[in-house]
């Protein structure tokens, strides 16, 4: 996908909704919608025709997020959403997740980065060895408590 442009990558998961009965693509509509999302997510790209490979890691990540926002799902799963991207882009992605949550979407974040978890989650379920070893509300959670639960699970085995 990295060889393709921003529009291609953004509409990939909803391509069929841009095609008519015989499979002809409505390119203008796809491009305009992509522009909307590029603006909304503040993707730093010279144009929607830019090859995704030439964007920074954080902006590539935003394009992937745009791909799924375009489908307008109620539940979004973010699996390690900020791995390998810079601090500024991380903040933007956190802000974005909060916006989405505020607009009524449910978000499940999978992460192994404790500060990130404490920053974004309302409820935290800690897994160890494939089982949930405890669920914490954000107010009562701390890095120590999370680590305790994570280690606790291992002792049991």
């Amino acid at each position: 996908m990295l060889e393709q442009d921003v529009t291609f990558n953004t509409v990939l998961a909803s391509l069929d909704s841009y095609a008519n009965a015989i499979g002809w693509m409505g390119d203008r509509k796809a491009k305009n919608q992509t522009k909307d999302y590029v603006q909304q997510l503040r993707v730093k790209t010279p144009s929607v025709n830019q090859i995704v490979k030439l964007l920074s890691g954080g902006n590539q990540q935003k394009v992937v997020i745009a791909r799924w926002l375009m489908r307008d799902c109620d539940i979004l799963i973010f699996d390690e959403p900020t791995r390998g991207i810079d601090v500024g882009a991380k903040e933007e992605i956190y802000r974005l997740m909060q916006q989405l949550a505020a607009s009524g979407k449910s978000i499940i974040v999978i992460s192994s980065e404790l500060p990130e978890i404490l920053r974004v989650a309302n409820r935290i379920a800690v897994f160890a060895n494939g089982r949930i070893t405890g669920t914490l509300r954000n107010e009562e959670a701390s890095q120590e408590k999370i680590m305790q639960l994570a280690a606790h699970g291992e002792e049991e085995e």
Binding site: M1, E3, Q4, A13, M25, P46
Partner: protein
Amino acid sequence: MSTPQQSGSTTTVIQQAVAENTDRRDVSGMLKRQLQQSLAFGTLVVLVIFFAIASPAFFTVSNLTTVLLSTAVIAILALGTTFVIITGGIDLSLGTGMALCAVMTGVIITNWGLPIWVGVLGGIATGVLMGLVNGVNITFLRLPPFIATLAMMMIAGGLALVISNVRPIYFSTSAPDFKRIALGVLIPGIPNAVLITIVLAIVAALVLSKTLLGRYTFAIGSNEEATRLSGVNTRRWTIFVYMFAGAFVGVAGVVIASRLDSAQPQIGMGYELQAIAAVIIGGTSLLGGRGSIIGTVIGALIMSVLVNGLSILSIQTEWRNIVVGVVVLLAVFFDSLRNRQRT
């Protein structure tokens, strides 16, 4: 209030810098892409000029018509297989498959005495059916495309011989008009086979760049797993791509049968490699995800100009094969060179 504003202006500056930077890279990337296309086109022009100077017999209307006519069948096969190669696959069953389609057309028209259009549709349907079998073998049985289509190459070649009793099927008495499909002239100066090729090239180019099938062809070739995770039924679309390519094999079978005014069960061998070579020379990547129809058309023209030009210079067939082989080597070498630059 002043702090956010300040940080806001800083980000704008960064944004601009990033934008300028990537913009320049985008332009150079575009130039590179233009270059690879013009490289093939330039090669074609140089070859034509070279042969035109080397022999007065080359640049004549009748010889150029011959070149176009001999390009037709390989170009039609190459158009369809461009899609397959962009998905990262390969189709070795093009050649013998084409022979089988030709034989089926012959059986329907000559042996069964049905009208020509039924024979044409039957030939194309045979190609689509082979594409379906190839696609199912590749996606559901998870056979590598090389193996699945190698097996199909042998099966189709064998079937063509069995069905025809190892004898050519002639159309001259059963359907005297059949040869006009390829050799008739609807538009003065252009044999129908060439016209068919041009129309199919336009259709293929539109499908590749403007339709869902084309988008998924590129998506699957770029990264099949990521495409699947984006909710795309990649198996179904891979099968569609092989069936689409199969339809081109069917048309090629009809055209070659019409041109020879007979269905020759043994003609297919070797055509698949020439078609694949044309696609590769045209800049379509064997790794998938990249390619164009115009490139394939140029690639097919380079192949037939080379063969025709060398034979006009009365160079022996053996040497012609060697030259074509070297050209394929060079094309793949430039392709890998481009890939290295990109990473």
